[in-house]
Symmetry: D2
Amino acid sequence: MKNDPIALDHLDGLVEAKAPAYAALSDLIWGMPELRFAEHRSVEAQIAQLEAEGFRVTRNVAGIPTAFVAEAGEGGPVIGFLGEFDALAGLSQEAGVAEKRPLEAGGNGHGCGHNLLGAGAMLAAVSARDALREAGMPGRVRYYGCPGEEGGSGKTFMAREGAFDDLDAAVTWHPGAFNAVMSVRNLANYQVYFRFKGKAAHAAGSPHLGRSALDAVELMNVGVNYLREHMPQEARVHYAITNSGGVSPNVVQAEAEVLYLVRAPRVAEARALLERVKDCAKGAAIMTGTSWSFEIDKACSELLQNRTLETALHGNFQALGAPAYDEADRRFAGEIRASLSAEDIASEVASFGADPALAEAGLHDGVLPFDGTPLVQAGSTDVGDVSQIVPTVQAWGACWAVGTPFHTWQAVAQGRSAHAHKGMAQAAKVMAATALDGFRDPELLARAKAELAQRRGGAAYACPIPPEVAAPPLRKRG
Amino acid sequence: MKNDPIALDHLDGLVEAKAPAYAALSDLIWGMPELRFAEHRSVEAQIAQLEAEGFRVTRNVAGIPTAFVAEAGEGGPVIGFLGEFDALAGLSQEAGVAEKRPLEAGGNGHGCGHNLLGAGAMLAAVSARDALREAGMPGRVRYYGCPGEEGGSGKTFMAREGAFDDLDAAVTWHPGAFNAVMSVRNLANYQVYFRFKGKAAHAAGSPHLGRSALDAVELMNVGVNYLREHMPQEARVHYAITNSGGVSPNVVQAEAEVLYLVRAPRVAEARALLERVKDCAKGAAIMTGTSWSFEIDKACSELLQNRTLETALHGNFQALGAPAYDEADRRFAGEIRASLSAEDIASEVASFGADPALAEAGLHDGVLPFDGTPLVQAGSTDVGDVSQIVPTVQAWGACWAVGTPFHTWQAVAQGRSAHAHKGMAQAAKVMAATALDGFRDPELLARAKAELAQRRGGAAYACPIPPEVAAPPLRKRG
Amino acid sequence: MKNDPIALDHLDGLVEAKAPAYAALSDLIWGMPELRFAEHRSVEAQIAQLEAEGFRVTRNVAGIPTAFVAEAGEGGPVIGFLGEFDALAGLSQEAGVAEKRPLEAGGNGHGCGHNLLGAGAMLAAVSARDALREAGMPGRVRYYGCPGEEGGSGKTFMAREGAFDDLDAAVTWHPGAFNAVMSVRNLANYQVYFRFKGKAAHAAGSPHLGRSALDAVELMNVGVNYLREHMPQEARVHYAITNSGGVSPNVVQAEAEVLYLVRAPRVAEARALLERVKDCAKGAAIMTGTSWSFEIDKACSELLQNRTLETALHGNFQALGAPAYDEADRRFAGEIRASLSAEDIASEVASFGADPALAEAGLHDGVLPFDGTPLVQAGSTDVGDVSQIVPTVQAWGACWAVGTPFHTWQAVAQGRSAHAHKGMAQAAKVMAATALDGFRDPELLARAKAELAQRRGGAAYACPIPPEVAAPPLRKRG
Amino acid sequence: MKNDPIALDHLDGLVEAKAPAYAALSDLIWGMPELRFAEHRSVEAQIAQLEAEGFRVTRNVAGIPTAFVAEAGEGGPVIGFLGEFDALAGLSQEAGVAEKRPLEAGGNGHGCGHNLLGAGAMLAAVSARDALREAGMPGRVRYYGCPGEEGGSGKTFMAREGAFDDLDAAVTWHPGAFNAVMSVRNLANYQVYFRFKGKAAHAAGSPHLGRSALDAVELMNVGVNYLREHMPQEARVHYAITNSGGVSPNVVQAEAEVLYLVRAPRVAEARALLERVKDCAKGAAIMTGTSWSFEIDKACSELLQNRTLETALHGNFQALGAPAYDEADRRFAGEIRASLSAEDIASEVASFGADPALAEAGLHDGVLPFDGTPLVQAGSTDVGDVSQIVPTVQAWGACWAVGTPFHTWQAVAQGRSAHAHKGMAQAAKVMAATALDGFRDPELLARAKAELAQRRGGAAYACPIPPEVAAPPLRKRG
């Protein structure tokens, strides 16, 4: 059935035909790395491309200037592809070299591969639309332009405003070192600022008149460290002192701030734990005669696995296989790996749940096995909130040398490489194929939804970010 | 004017005549050491003697079974002599030997010389009454039987019930190693129990279900240690953990208790500091999800110096001089000193504000100089509350070898010695003489009262122990 | 094959014939509850019975006065039954009543059912020997009299001295509320005293001269609470302050002690974690100018599951089934359950990994399913060390009403009940049958040993308690 | 003796003649506020003026680019005038207005009046030289250009290199709100950086692999807060967290830094206390598995009072009296005072030890009394080190409205005012007169030196900053 528009080999051709354009788009975004919620140029580049492809674009989703949705097709189910495109601070790096070489001191860089992530998801969306159109099948394809994934929980703010409510399924991926279903059990989280206000005084002359906000931060932290014994072992609480109240020891610190990240397997548990952390702040304020306040910065729900869709995606990945790397790809990957320690590589391999023997591979030539068991990870992602609303499936696409850690110059250096482009295209095929399975098979979507409903126990989605917390770009700072 | 009944040499004779009887009473009390508020036999012995001397006795003062007042004389001013008679735990010791030799393992002992203190104050009271009677002068003499000085604040409970309100002056003394006016600026204090209740749980199996009262005690203590930076430097806060919640690490501690002693130069400052310490308890309870309560155990006001009376007492001490020690006294004192290090002796000498050269003396043959400047000491005494109500003066009487530390077996061992008896009699003379100065010279008492009023700035006495706190022997324990 | 001496129904008869005698022995030990390492009378009673049964007794095993081994039979494999018989403080309770009613205020009680444990293991040993003898089969049966399980790690001290080295298998059980294989993954542990010595000083007068040992304990604890963030999540560290340095806040505490229990999944991890806890002690001593020392009190290795023997035991349990309770048993169980909350019962049921629906059962009439997966528990037991040396299998025997918590008066009250006696006899049958499987089937023992070797990765047993640490009854205390 | 060149009224004329030039120099420096050790333009302006006056200038004293000495005269004693000229960050302010109005956002400003301090000391030096020259008396006058007083201890670095060793006396002043001898007992100090290095790790994914340098800082601080109980009450320890290890809670902080200021009445005590603080750092590093290092940033010795010179200076101040303020001066002072609360004013007045009634004064029209008793202050100054080497005397000169706090915009706003210029000239007269007393009266200098020798107990000056610590501008930063 060579002409079945949805046959994998046909789809492969559709994706490959457009892959160079999206590789170019990815490279463009790589070259103008923008931090969370400031991805204005990256968004414009994507929207231009999507409009050229005939997608209908809605800007300012959830009121966020860099959040948008692009849709194509008519009728039928609605399947969304989630794209990200924000960069990281301090990771400026020249492409294509295997040594640390910033383009701009202190500049930004795409250390998490979101240039590929967004462009790849777009390529999947466009290709799925192309296939649907050729097949004359109903169905709508959406691309979600999701800003601020890095410490911003952009999708959670979008979810709170209902942006994903009418989807039948969501599909996304992440660049990495392996080809695999990304089936993960992770942690919900809350990120919260705690601020204390005390009273300044000369620290030698009249310390008894001072009320130290830094003391309050320290005592809050001591209290939380005691709390660790009495919280569920899978939970995590960590913090950074974001304002220590000044660098002069001579003055009792009148204000100070600490940023907490509170995580637990389920969002309700994270919220309960946050209340206990707040009690530590309150207790510290009372102890020190200071006042305190808190500000929720962001939050994520835990990922809900969808084994139904994951099984479908895994089947497509097995059928499509790994990208076809060439000698040059392997040579550059080898050079990158030479910059990493064996421990780093082994640790990265383990974090994917991959066979330790794969640490020897330069680039991943296969597809990792999948038996329906999710990998347990202590991190968090705002894809979690999408997965609470709509059946969601994710892929890992091998874009980097095996062992490349996230958020490193090595990841940035490979961000425009030929092997990254190949990994992106392959992931786009797998995603598009899985979406097409859904368009073609209403039963699949129904089963995926039933699984979601069963996992949620019938409860409706409740966004972990309270309604009064504005998305970061909309916040007024005092 | 040899026959002037109030001439010092005549008074000297009066005191010496009765001194053997009171030395015997002191020895009797030494031999039946009773702890705070349990001084029943010591009280009976004193009352029997006072009734034999014709004093009118009121028992159960302030409702406390071992508090009493004995009065003699009619009309005129009322001057009170304050006596103490409680012993200390763990200080059982044979008399008259210069090595540690308990009479009873773990038994009590008069390590603070209160056997001498009470008997000496009685001897002063009786002798002053005798002199007044001979002179046919009006005036009432009182002996206050004050229990529970050691960690009990007996006088403060008595003061709260008005026991000292109608006095014109109060006189007392303390055995020590020197002859001197005891003019001291010390600290007011509050002693308070803090109790926490949490929830037990298996510390390994379900620590997340436990709420640790021991954590609360520790966090309260951490909070208070941070508070130290921000309190007046003369203040003191210290604590003991009186219930750590059990010795098994396997159980989350469901209850715990810590006993705080909070001191500051003035009682109002101590009270304000106590509020901040309470905030640390409250904050710790909130941090740990436990509940807390507190119980005031006792409190003392700071001593108010009365330079008027101190100057009078110093004059009498100079006129009367030191006791006349003999060779045997000096030999025993020398043996006691041989059991002490040079550092101990020097430290003790310094604590009296005495010339360091006096560390060489075996027994103090002179009277320490006094220029009206009080010695600053960081401790507390319940004489403080009397001094807030009525002009109060204190003497040190040399009863021990120079360098003898308080609360040691060495102090107990000297408690029935000839030199202690001599020191007690000499102190009784000085106290009686000072009281007689008052009876004879209304101007002196008026000036003393004016000084007190000036120091208090016109404020009435407010007892630091709240009305609802029962004296220890009257307390119900849950 | 009715006369097969090892047929289960024949074995059943052997056990039932002697069960009354061992129920009586259990009751005798229940009536003279002795604490860890002081089980002298309980040991004598057991030895008398074993000698009457013709066992050869070795006393003073590992030099511990209440540790002994009794052996019978000749040649063949050696299979050991592990018995315990120590009681708990503060759990004195009348038998057969469903309300808290101590026999002796503050007295001991068999709150963990070790009276049943020892007698039941003896009954199994004797019955297995009887069956072997009837069958004329070679094989040696041992009963291990293991003292001090409660906080004493008696078996670990015995293991260190080689007491289990020549065994082919070890079998034991524990009274509980269910009939089941006890297949558990637990934690290795170390219990360690930390002691600090500082310098006393008057806390108000000269605190700058004091060095507080209590400060050191508190700072060590703060350090350990910070350490929690950075240790594996399955590890556990908990502590009790066993000497707070005195109850007087007026003295800088010159000595203090804290008892730590450090646990981790594997003994090597526990040891590594203990080193970090010791660093906290060292750091605290340096911070406070105090000196520190530590004393290992006891330690246990983690349990090594032996699925081979567990499968055999489970088969026997399924074949033999639950004890046959009667109406009176069920009535008493019902009364006991009426003294417990639904939450307590549910929590106990969950701790056995049993179906929550079983919370409704008064007594357990079935056998819990077993699929080879161990239950994960955060506790520890000294059976762990035996399981590291020799293939070891454990059963739960239903002796208590469903929901009865361990270490409660309810457990003591049921310790002499008819249903406890029945549960003990049934467990004895299951244990004896499993041992007989081993005697009959050398392959089974070989597979069990191979499994052990595989789990140990070829490493020889290394006792977690260093050679210089004497067993508690042999220790000199300073 | 109208023509006595050293008569006060003649000296008054000499100073007044040159006062306008030095007021202009002060204004020039006010207008180019430079931070510690970066006072290059201010130094050039001063040197130009001093060279114009015929002084011999030595630059780069102690190797510090902005430290210099200017000398004039020949033979006789050598008396030095100490000048300062560094500004403060963040205190930019328009002159002559009574409201906060920065000239440059975040810019520097002369909030401590060092523009006046340096110019005034120069004016005194030049005038003393003029008087000596007129009188034909031998004697050398020096002006010390001392950089980096604000948190830099410039003089201590100069002292370490011997810059003050051959002086016979040192004289200086400070602008303030009162005319007075500045006789102070303050605290020696050490300012020390503590740095910790740990190991980064993902705070949720692998916290057990991380070693937190921030934990180490916090635990060090907890340890120091416990230490407070056990240090002399006059000592002070305070700190600022100068590197919290980053603002991301998601990463275990691999490095962190805290800056400590350790003070005590005597430099030896400060050094001993610093050792105990270092122990807290060491203990925290051990507890957390991090490494630590420290770097002494600066140190000051305590001021040694020189009552001999103070008495001489006080006599001159009484003879010369306060500056003659006019209506405009008082009006502006009144406007400044209107911007301050009564509490602020009262607190400032108290900090000078002045009569509280003077809080009502707009400008100080008298000279504060002096009875030889120093004011106790808990701060520190690098004049302390000069005072340890050579008899040193300081004056307060009334340049600001009564109640003006140091380091405020109000101080900057008055820095070029007419009343500040008058206060500066008056202080210059007092300083010059006192120096001339010394030149004229060798006995005075001898007595001053004898007093210093007696206070030092015969010990030679030992600089508190170790030889290996480079002055800040000479330091290499890693």
